[in-house]
């Protein structure tokens, strides 16, 4: 708590701009290590698969990469990718637009929170894919069904994290704002929402991943246009190598989503203990 007073992370206006090579080198190493491990595993996989001990169902890494290159040079691939990403993002955004304000609203009064708790606790554990038949019945097997199902699945983590976050805002910070005569709206804007942000960010990251899973699963099961449908299609055609290539694409989408959330968290939560750089204060 009583650490050196003037040690400040780079990026703040008053911070000294002296470079900190030790930190930078460590960070460089942090990026190199996982990369080296990944390459190593891929090389081992390639050798094992080429040796043929696992049988022919598992194509070699190099064949998968080759299939991927063939697949992405096809215009239809980009169309399917677009279909998947579009449903994913629209469904996710819809969920965010519903969950974040609703979460703040439900957290704002005890009455609302308690009166809605039972119904929310009941709806939440329903696996989104369990209501897939209902969704198809009501909305058909097209994009809008996919989008709503994705939204349904993504709404819960964001809703709950927002409520928990708003409830967990420091009582002292809230009392301070109140004692200075700030109104409800001002307290929400300056204290509650930023205070809940670490929780909300976690909810957003979880929701984005779940939304992607549900998007692709829906395409696989119902056959709505997208990557998932294509995975099933090449499997029926017996083209295992392309199937793996497409699975790889789905994995990349998930990785991108997590990387984007983490980058956003780093920007928005620079003040949070989990994001503060080494040497910054407490």
């Amino acid at each position: 708590m009583t650490a050196a007073p003037t040690v400040e992370p780079a990026g703040t206006p008053t911070a000294s701009t002296a470079p900190r090579p030790s930190v930078r080198r460590r960070r460089g190493g942090g990026r190199l290590l996982p990369l080296a491990t990944t390459v190593g595993i891929l090389v081992v996989a390639e050798l094992v698969l080429r040796s043929g001990v696992l049988g022919s169902e598992f194509p070699a890494v190099s064949s998968v990469v080759a299939a991927l290159i063939t697949e992405v040079s096809n215009a239809a691939f980009w169309d399917r990718l677009y279909q998947t990403v579009q449903s994913w993002l629209i469904g996710f955004s819809l969920a965010a637009i519903i969950a974040l304000p609703l979460g703040l609203l439900l957290a704002s009064t005890r009455f609302l929170f308690r009166s809605t708790r039972l119904i929310i606790d009941f709806l939440r554990p329903i696996p989104p894919l369990a209501i897939l038949p209902l969704a198809v019945l009501l909305l058909g097997s097209g994009t809008s069904m996919k989008v709503w199902l994705v939204a349904f699945s993504a709404v819960w983590p964001m809703l709950f994290q927002t409520i928990y976050g708003a409830h967990d805002v420091d009582g002292v910070a809230r009392d301070t704002a109140r004692s200075y005569g700030l109104g409800r709206a001002q307290i929400y804007r300056h204290v509650v929402i930023p205070g809940a942000l670490p929780y909300i960010a976690t909810g957003v990251r979880l929701a984005a991943t779940i939304a992607l899973v549900v998007t692709i699963a829906t395409e696989l099961i119902v056959g709505s246009a997208g990557l998932g449908y294509r995975i099933n299609q090449v499997r029926y055609g017996g083209d295992m190598t392309t199937m793996y290539a497409l699975i790889l694409v789905a994995g990349l989408l998930g990785w991108l989503s997590t990387a984007a959330s983490r980058a956003l968290e780093k920007r928005l939560l620079f003040w949070h203990p989990s994001q503060r750089q080494a040497g910054g204060g407490q």
Binding site: T2, P5, T12, S179, Y180, G181, L182, V191, G281, Q282
Partner: protein, 263 residues
């Protein structure tokens, strides 16, 4: 009287925290409130600052009964790291309470800069609280309170979380600020030495359910010094007087020494 507390009582459900408190604080006076641990000091401050509604009795601040956070009062908490907002810079933290006051931007900024200069932090406006030491963070909290231009400064064990040396510095800072602004200060502490060193009068409280055990005038000279004041025989005598009251404070035997309690 700047602050008049009359028969104030607060219970949480059936559990009485404050039984009956009556005392007054004159304008520009420095009053310290001391009492045994868990005697409801924080409850009292919350009642005075309008964050809690008393179960009985009233607190009248500058002629107005407190029934919500008053505009003439600023509160400084012990937990500076929780009361300052980590996502706001030092300057934005100080500006925060001014948003509710309806001042124009330039005036808000002037007040904030002035009070930061007063506590010696003019060069740290763009730092974040968590980049500062504990003592500096509490200075920010004090600057924020001063920028609000209160008539009464309420402080809840403000120096309990910093080391001894920083504590002495902050004590002298608050004495300086009080002289400079002609502000009324009510400071709650469990530290008897601190109470005697800072105060014009010390209100000694009993254990729960809390009453006033005694009010002691501290007739030490006005310009106090960490070394000479604390080594004077008068200081030791007053200190002993307060300490005896706190050690002997029992809920039962408070009635005989109570000030201003009916029956």
């Amino acid at each position: 009287m700047m602050l008049e507390v009359t028969n104030l009582a607060k219970s949480y459900g059936d559990v009485p925290a404050i039984a009956d408190l009556t005392f007054g604080v004159a304008a520009q006076e420095f009053v310290c409130i001391v009492g045994p641990s868990g005697c409801g000091k924080t409850t009292l401050l919350k009642c005075l600052s309008g964050l809690l509604e008393p179960s009985r009795g009233t607190a009248v601040l500058d002629g107005t009964t407190v029934d919500g956070p008053p505009e003439t009062l600023a509160l400084v908490f012990q937990e500076y790291s929780r009361s300052l907002l980590p996502w706001k810079t030092v300057l934005d933290n100080v500006l925060l309470p001014l948003r509710a006051k309806g001042l124009d931007k330039a005036e808000q900024r002037r007040l904030a800069m002035e009070s930061l200069a007063e506590v010696g932090l003019a060069d740290f406006t763009h730092a974040y609280p968590w980049q500062l030491s504990g003592g500096m963070q509490q200075r920010v909290a004090i600057a924020r309170a001063l920028a609000y231009q209160p008539k009464v400064l309420l402080m809840d064990e403000p120096f309990a979380s910093v080391d001894a040396q920083t504590r002495a510095e902050l004590e002298d800072l608050i004495l300086k600020v009080r002289r400079h602004f002609g502000i009324t200060v009510v400071l709650v502490t469990h530290d008897i030495d601190e109470a005697v060193y800072l105060a014009d009068r010390v209100v000694v409280l009993t254990k729960r359910p809390t009453k006033v055990a005694e009010v002691i005038d501290i007739d030490l000279p006005d310009d106090r010094d960490q070394v000479t004041t604390r080594e004077s025989p008068e200081f030791a005598h007053l200190r002993g007087q307060v300490a005896r009251l706190i050690v002997g404070a029992q809920p039962g035997d408070a009635d005989t020494t109570n000030v201003g309690v009916a029956s």
